[in-house]
Symmetry: C2
DNA sequence: TCGATAATATCCCAATTTGGGATATTTTTA
DNA sequence: TAAAAATATCCCAAATTGGGATATTATCGA
């Protein structure tokens, strides 16, 4: 997940992101290190929060068929 | 997940999809009914298999910022 | 229409994964 | 360089997972 990159770009801490998205800081940390996967609801919440596509969030933008749908 | 719709359009059974994607038929059934969520690896495997974006798979195409990234 | 077969859904369960509180570690700042 | 902020890790109970087995439903040919 491109979570850390997006968060840094936005210039906020894990704690602020956690509060904004209604979850725990350590949970954010785990998503960023790839230790755990967020469920779909959370995934989409992040995409909305950073105003990016889920494909981008999942580092899938280089997929040749990305723009098909 | 738009799994059932994509599978139907392709004209294949849950069993064939399961075999092609190396998993169990009942697992497919659960994803289709929304009872359970596939992990990211599986999600992306489906997207590749059906040649669609993950956003589309997650029924997120109508999101206004979909094409931002 | 009915019986056979294919397709899909559900039950059960052990194993894995989850998130949160607490805390340790690392980084930043004054 | 001490204090504070930021991030990572430990522990654990609870939730979620996938698979085997099987039940239910749909489809089709005789």
């Amino acid at each position: 997940m491109r979570l850390k990159e997006l968060r840094k770009k936005k210039g906020i801490s894990q704690l602020k992101l956690a509060i904004d998205c209604n979850m725990n800081q350590n949970t954010i940390s785990r998503y960023e290190t790839g230790e755990r996967e967020a469920d779909y609801e959370t995934l989409i919440r992040f995409a909305d929060y950073f105003d990016v596509s889920v494909d981008y969030l999942l580092e899938r933008t280089n997929n040749p068929t990305f723009l098909k749908n």
